[in-house]
């Protein structure tokens, strides 16, 4: 679109390069949205005008535009999103987004150029991807401007977005550009739009954008958003207008509910706003602390959090469907009012959702196609943060008699899943079979990231992420791009200690579906006897005195590989004289015997004594001893008996 009306021509520089939130642009800002909308809390609609723009950064003219119409996922029970898993609560519960009018920057009416497509599954009932045939192609370097009048109806029950009574969480709510990818970007062969349908399990993918959002709504509503509050004006007659601006974020969501309690805090240069409900107020300090822990940990080990603002929400009971979701500078936690303080579930969710500001907020990977890149990596960091700050390695739950680390919680999901070996870990989110999406993209991926840390060391792992941030912040990395960073950093810090590159690792854990299981099959020790037998027809015997001098043993510690995944392992072997020997094994053969000759005998052996190989699905068989410690079983039996005795004595009056 060459001809842009002068009004918009004047506005564009302000929109594109105006610095209100951040000193200088963090991203190329290829898209932007100016919105002026009104919330009707009774009809649960958001309607108004939007000016959206997209810069053609490719070297070829582009003749079409693709936009996400996410809210249409809720328009019937036949959409790809809703099929068999979501249905409206009553006739008022359906959600949709409707374009009432659409013009390009030259004033061309595009309403008849619109059409819905279903690139992923061909579902004719799905209207979540809009294709716009442009009257003339957008030349390289030019900007496509669309002036859209739209109405969004929020769905109920809430699924990330929607309403419940007067609680409104407004997300995935406006027509939004897909990502125009150029050849080479994310290993792509040719230029083109990347714009997937809204699937039940998939999340999102977008350019870093600038948002100017003005919302008019009843004055009693308390609001929050991913933007910085520019002004809040009383319009009289019980209405007010709120204006936000956000820069360099991939999605803009906001919420409005009369019952919110608003609290604020500050960490270094970041203003933190917390929207919560009355029953969850008691968790506010702890929630703020969780955010600060995450900020501190990720700034130190990955890179700076660049925005001066951050808002998070603990939705009320009625809005739990909006909980546990991320919109970079806005995220939602959950359960603050319900969980006792010795369990860190709400803090864990807060840390996780905040972490997404990095993993897909700053490092804007494609969540549709490579969900492990955000959920897996983000779970890995969440687990490190939770276990670092709460309860000495047992972050999720730590009581004197019971405990659980967040890392183990994630790992358990993977190792106990019967379907853990049925798919590789690089699938698009909607392609995971048998309900393995979250187990695979969160738990398995986090588990092998911990394993990678175990192999290359924490310091190198942190440097991998520092470099990943340095190279890819405010761009769109792929899994292959991440692996390239790993290979470069590992090579520069360890040479070829782990081989030419680390592809052997990713080929197994990411692009493979095998499981990892090593075991100690046993320890044998035999006395070395003096020569005895028949040699050349003469029998050879040893005397009583020889026998007394038989004091040496030949011993064998037998290790086996039961799974397909081959990882280097350490084996710690303890001897009867108290000595310990640490052996290394590349783990490639099906078994390995370690033999010792001498007066000492091995009495126990432990594979992976420091628990670095989290991928090992069974750690019970990782160790073997002649004298297993039964005290724990006895103690637990004693406690169990006592508990039953007390129960009987209490319940019989």
């Amino acid at each position: 679109m060459r001809k842009i009306p002068w009004v918009i021509m004047c506005l564009l520089p302000f929109i594109a390069s105006g610095q209100i939130v951040i000193d200088k642009p963090l991203s190329p800002r290829l898209t932007g949205y100016d919105m002026n909308v009104t919330l009707d809390p009774d009809a649960h609609t958001v309607s108004g005008q939007m000016t959206a723009w997209w810069v053609n950064h490719s070297s070829m003219p582009v003749g079409e535009a693709m936009m996400h119409m996410y809210l249409n996922a809720f328009c019937s029970n036949k959409t790809t999103f809703a099929k068999g898993r979501w249905s409206a609560a009553g006739d008022d519960g359906w959600g949709w987004v409707k374009i009432n009018s659409i013009f390009d920057g030259s004033g061309n009416d595009l309403i008849d150029s619109m059409g819905f497509v279903s690139p992923d599954d061909g579902n004719e009932h799905d209207k979540t991807v809009l294709r716009l045939a442009l009257p003339s192609p957008v030349a390289p370097g030019d900007t496509l401007v669309l002036v859209i009048d739209f109405t969004s109806k929020l769905p109920s029950p809430i699924q990330r977005t929607g309403y419940e009574g007067d609680f409104h969480f407004v997300a995935q709510w406006f027509p939004k550009f897909g990502v125009y990818e150029t050849a080479g970007m994310r290993q792509r062969e040719a230029d083109g739009w990347n714009c997937h349908q809204f699937h039940p399990n998939s999340e999102f993918y977008a350019n870093h954008s600038v948002y100017n959002v003005s919302v008019t709504l009843p004055s009693e509503y308390v609001t929050g958003s991913g933007g910085m509050l520019i002004e809040e004006t009383d319009l009289g007659e019980g209405m007010k207008r709120v204006i936000w601006r956000a820069e360099d974020i991939v999605d803009f969501a906001w919420t409005a509910w009369p019952g919110y309690k608003v609290l604020t805090d500050r960490w270094k240069g970041v203003d933190i706003t917390f929207l919560t409900s009355e029953p969850a107020l008691k968790k506010a300090d702890s929630q703020f602390q969780a955010v600060k822990y995450a900020l501190e940990y990720l700034e130190e080990r990955v890179g700076p959090y660049p925005w001066p603002h951050l808002t998070f929400v603990d939705p009320p009971m009625s809005g739990t469907g909006a909980g546990g979701m991320e919109y970079t500078t806005l995220f939602t936690s959950m359960g603050g009012g319900m969980v006792p303080s010795f369990m860190k579930m709400p803090e864990m969710v807060t840390i996780h959702e905040f972490g997404h500001a990095y993993f897909m907020g700053i490092l804007a990977s494609n969540e549709f196609e490579e969900p492990w890149l955000d959920e897996g990596i983000n779970s890995y960091w969440e687990q490190r943060i939770v276990d670092h700050y709460y309860g000495k390695g047992y972050g999720l739950l730590k009581l004197p008699f019971i405990r659980l680390s967040d890392t183990d919680q994630g790992r358990m999901t993977y190792i106990t899943s019967p379907s853990r070996g049925i798919a590789t870990n690089d699938l698009p989110s909607w392609m995971y079979p048998h309900g393995t999406y979250s187990m695979m993209s969160y738990s398995k991926a986090a588990t092998w990231l911990h394993t990678l840390k175990g192999i290359i060391g924490t310091e190198t792992m942190d440097n991998v992420f520092r470099e990943y941030y340095r190279r890819w912040a405010f761009r769109h990395p792929s899994g292959k791009d991440f692996i390239a960073v790993v290979n470069d950093v590992v090579r520069s810090e360890h040479g070829d200690r782990f081989g030419e590159d680390m592809n052997w690792f990713f080929d197994q854990v990411l692009y493979g579906s095998g499981i990892c299981d090593y075991r100690v099959s046993g320890i044998t020790s035999n006395k070395i006897r003096s020569y005895s037998g028949v040699v050349d027809g003469d029998s050879v015997t040893y005397t009583r005195s020889d026998r007394r001098s038989d004091t040496l043993y030949i011993s064998r510690v037998s290790i086996e590989r039961l799974g397909d995944v081959k990882l280097p392992v350490e084996i710690l072997i303890g001897f009867d004289n108290g000595e310990e020997v640490l052996e290394q094994w590349d783990g490639k053969e099906l078994y390995r015997d370690f033999e010792y000759t001498g007066a000492r005998k091995p009495v126990w052996a432990k594979i992976d004594p420091d628990n670095r190989i989290d991928m090992d699905v069974n750690r019970i068989n990782n160790s073997w001893t002649y004298e297993p410690d039964r005290t724990a079983a006895r103690r637990m039996m004693n406690k169990f008996i006592l508990l039953m005795q007390m129960m009987i004595s209490i319940f019989t009056i």
């Binding site: 029953p279 073997w624 005290t631 079983a633």
Partner: protein
């Protein structure tokens, strides 16, 4: 008869019945061992020669459940089933022995031999079972009325899914304050049966209510005091069991001895409540047998 004298006389009678309490304790221990022992055997077979049990030494690491995998589900199922079974058997056992204990506490003087104790238990078992079940039903109804109904009303009024706010705690307190009355009735009615040899459940409860009314505040006070002491003891025992993590063989053995000693104390304390109620009723009648 003063408050403290009643408590003291009850304690004396209970202490002199220590042999009977030990019989109850032994039966209970054998019963619970029947469920506890397979648990231990199961754990030993799961862990085999592994050294992973080190991770149980600072309390139970839930991650081990993941390590155990599928068999853990089987363990939970069988432990649950075992608990229900042993709980039921234990309930019957306690009802059974209550018969003997009340017989003992209604005797004006002298002791009950263990064989007489068992015989008395057996004779009164059925009516005691009925009266216990009936009293438990009454207490369940009382709980529903005092806590359930207000909670329901609060939910309906506030429109939320859970009774919120501190209002509901008031009803917990009211419930707790009322409980000694029901326990007195339960004990006094069983005393009446033991003393009269009657098997009429409703007459027993009627007699108990009459006894309660006669010197209400004393009756209430003694049961309240004994129940509070029992409650403190139970909490202390559970606290001790939850937090103690002996990790050496000998320490585990000592832990076993200590916990079982506490169980005996708890059984004594509970028998004390029976004895105190019997004392109170018998004193107000001025005789042992009405």
């Amino acid at each position: 008869m003063s408050f403290f004298k009643t408590l003291k006389n009850g304690a004396t009678v209970t202490a002199s019945s220590y042999k009977l309490i030990l019989v109850i304790w032994i039966s209970m221990l054998v019963l619970t061992l029947a469920a506890g022992y397979p648990l231990k055997a199961f754990m030993n077979s799961i862990f085999g020669k592994s050294m992973i049990t080190e991770r149980l030494n600072d309390g139970f690491d839930i991650a081990l459940a993941g390590e155990i995998g599928k068999p853990f589900g089987a363990l939970v199922t069988s432990v649950t089933a075992g608990t229900v079974l042993v709980g039921t058997a234990g309930f019957i056992l306690m009802v059974f022995f209550a018969g003997g204990l009340f017989r003992r506490f209604t005797l004006a003087e002298g002791r009950l031999k263990v064989s007489e104790f068992l015989k008395a238990s057996a004779t009164s078992f059925m009516p005691f079972l009925w009266i216990t079940l009936l009293m438990m039903l009454i207490i369940a109804g009382y709980t529903l009325l005092v806590i359930g109904v207000p909670a329901l009303v609060m939910v309906l009024v506030s429109g939320s899914k859970m009774p919120s706010g501190n209002g509901i705690y008031i009803f917990y307190v009211i419930w707790a304050l009322g409980m000694p009355l029901w326990l007195f009735v339960a004990d006094a009615s069983r005393r009446w049966m033991a003393a009269t040899g009657s098997r009429q459940v409703f007459r027993a409860i009627g007699a108990a209510f009459r006894a309660l009314r006669e010197r209400f505040w004393l009756n209430y006070g003694i049961v309240f005091a004994v129940v509070v002491l029992n409650l403190l003891l139970v909490l202390a025992i559970l606290w001790f069991a939850a937090f103690a993590t002996p990790d050496k063989g000998i320490m585990v053995f000592l832990f076993f001895i200590a916990t079982q000693a506490l169980v005996v104390v708890r059984l004594m304390m509970k028998a004390w409540r029976y004895a105190v109620v019997c004392e109170a009723v018998q004193q107000q009648r001025g005789e042992a047998i009405p």
